[in-house]
């Protein structure tokens, strides 16, 4: 099918058409998963009956009509925990990725455009950040500064900006050599003009894929930290549910793990898979066409 997109009446239909055309079957499935998880997290209050932090039934209730994912050792509804936990995970993921994306783009543009000492300094910094082990430093900061969710985002972003920065830098270097940039400069275009009109649109496709990937990585990193007991205790995330479940004595010898441990495990895996699939599809599209249409 190669219908021109403007044959469609509504903007919505056009978007749907373009999406279906740009992504593989798995990619579309992945988008549905991401949209579903985000909606569930956004509308958490509407789709849960029980509170996510107070007991609402007998401990260790297996999945039933009242608690359709069961309850944990304190009788807290697991479905509510998963939905509200999704909020934390997505907030950390998107927060980190956007912060790192903006910082990385700025650093990359500065390195690529100005060159010289600026470039050397920024590239040296990315070298250092790549070698430094991120989890131990995260733990160090978490242990000393307290496991606040914003601290976690900040430190994760501190470790994540290098990837977008490197991509943006090499793209900017290649754009800089194009004749239209030289023409624009000879017509008196300033840095601001070139940045907004040429660099940003040029790096946007690659940058967005990098940001999507970082979202997935940040969600995993937060889950890992929370699993170690360094998550924000006030905003229960999927990793923290895992932490509680696996530290429950004798969980292996009881049937509780089937609903208590498996649900956060499946939730993390599903979301991370979905994000990776979307990033991969977009990457393929950029590699074949050069732009996202």
């Amino acid at each position: 099918m190669n219908l021109p997109a403007d044959k469609f009446k509504g903007k919505f239909q056009k978007t749907i058409y373009l999406t279906c055309n740009s992504f593989s079957v798995q990619g579309i499935g992945a988008i549905i998963v991401i949209v579903a998880v985000s909606t569930a997290a956004l509308l958490a209050g509407l789709i849960t009956v029980h509170p996510s932090n107070l007991p609402s039934g007998a401990p260790f209730t297996p999945p039933c009509v009242e608690h359709f994912l069961g309850t944990d050792d304190l009788g807290i509804d697991i479905w509510s925990q998963i939905v509200y936990g999704g909020r934390t995970s997505i907030y950390v993921g998107i927060g980190t990725a956007l912060l790192a994306g903006v910082a990385g783009a700025l650093a990359g543009i500065a390195a690529g455009y100005f060159g010289g000492h600026t470039e050397r300094l920024i590239m040296r910094l990315t070298d250092i950040m790549i070698i430094l082990p991120d989890l131990p430093l995260l733990i160090l900061v978490g242990a000393f500064f307290g496991p606040g969710i914003n601290n976690i985002i900040l430190v994760l972003a501190l470790f994540s900006w290098t990837h977008p920065a490197r991509i943006v830098r090499s793209k900017v270097i290649s754009i800089k050599e194009e004749n239209y940039i030289k023409a624009a400069v000879s017509f008196g275009a300033g840095f601001r003009h070139i940045l907004l009109r040429h660099f940003l649109p040029g790096v946007m496709p690659l940058l967005s894929v990098s940001v999507i990937r970082l979202t997935g990585r940040a969600i995993v990193a937060e889950a890992g930290l929370a699993f170690l007991g360094l998550g924000d205790p006030l905003s229960k995330s999927w990793g923290l549910i895992l932490n509680h479940a696996i530290n429950f004595r004798g969980i292996y010898f009881t049937p509780f793990w089937k609903w208590w441990l498996m649900t956060p495990l499946i939730a993390i895996t599903l979301l991370v898979f979905a994000i990776a699939l979307v990033a991969r599809d977009l990457e393929k599209k950029i590699n074949t066409k050069g732009v996202i249409s």
Binding site: I130, I131, L132, V141, G229, L230
Partner: protein
């Protein structure tokens, strides 16, 4: 990176390690444990004074830094409050577990990645390549500690093939050296598998793509023209040139693997540095946390540096540039 780069990185590590406890908001010693399973510790005023004296916080910052640095040079990285022992000794008693876990799983993942990558490249676009490719892509996205939990429940609890936790059976009198080795090996199977799975996809993808590039080169066509066996072409001619990128990646990923090992050790309660780190966090043993951070960062730096030095010997192309 040049040696100077490593020196700069090392200084960054040391400076971070010095400043993080001192930049901490509020009072470090009244910070309560936030972990629900943790031991809540409230220090008495005398203890707080003692710790402040320990950190030398009553002296000016420059003086603190000088004494911190001179202590480091003499090998004194602090005194563990909880274990009542020098931090360096506490870490040394656990380090071997973690380091062997990492070395074994990285080598296995590297070898498996290169072999599967070579198979995939040779059968490019056949069914076997497609199956391997989609399987690996999926697997490369699952973080090590999730795989570890799944393995723990499948291999340890459900099938009962492997021990659930620990690095060796406690209080077991070994009848022979072999008995001891096999006991330790059985405990290591699941953690190693989890770490291998976490890295395998990445190495496979890299090996596959570099193999595909190499296989299109003229000397491979010559080898085919000479009528050499497929096996020989892949494993003798192509592999030699396709392996270096994977080896480099193995060393670059050391920092990440250390992170993965910390989490995996905690899933299996494996008695390495990662499990120690969590214990230290639970009891808020700050000198120990700092010492462990220093240990991991310096080990990663040393291993990367060694790799950089060795790499020039293996690949003459690097030496020239």
């Amino acid at each position: 990176m040049k040696p100077a780069g490593y020196l700069i990185t090392l200084s960054v590590v040391l400076i971070l390690n010095f400043f993080i406890p001192r930049l901490m908001p509020g009072d470090p010693f009244t910070f309560l444990s936030s972990d629900p399973d943790g031991v809540t510790i409230v220090y008495t005023p005398e203890q707080i004074e003692k710790f402040k004296g320990y950190y030398g916080m009553d002296k000016p910052l420059t003086e603190q830094f000088i004494s911190y640095f001179s202590n480091l040079v003499s090998g004194d990285i602090g005194y563990s409050i909880y274990y009542n022992d020098d931090v360096i000794d506490v870490i040394a008693s656990r380090a071997l577990w973690t380091i062997s876990l990492i070395i074994i799983s990285l080598s296995l993942a590297g070898i498996a990645g290169i072999i599967t990558g070579a198979i995939s490249a040779w059968f490019r676009d056949h069914l076997i390549d497609r199956l391997l490719y989609s399987f690996m892509i999926l697997f490369s996205e699952i973080p090590a500690f999730i795989t570890a939990i799944i393995l723990l429940f499948a291999g340890g609890a459900w099938l009962g093939w492997f021990p659930l936790s620990g690095g060796a059976t406690p209080f077991r009198g070994y009848t022979s050296g072999w008995d001891k080795i096999s006991d330790i090996a059985m405990h290591a199977v699941l953690p190693v598998t989890a770490l291998v799975f976490a890295r395998l996809g990445e190495f496979y993808l890299l090996a596959r793509s570099s193999m595909i590039t190499v296989l299109s080169k003229d000397y491979i066509r010559t080898a085919k023209g000479k009528g050499l066996l497929k096996r020989r072409i892949i494993f003798i001619h192509a592999l030699k040139n396709a392996a270096p990128p994977v080896v480099t990646r193995i060393f670059i990923s050391l920092g990440t693997v250390f992170g993965g090992a910390i989490l995996v050790e905690n899933v299996f309660r494996y008695p390495g540095a990662g499990f120690l780190l969590r214990e230290a966090v639970l009891v808020r043993d700050y000198p120990l946390i700092q010492g462990l951070f220093l240990f991991v960062a310096v080990s990663v730096l040393i291993m990367n540096f060694t790799a950089d030095m060795l790499y020039g010997k293996f690949d003459p192309r690097v030496r020239v540039s």
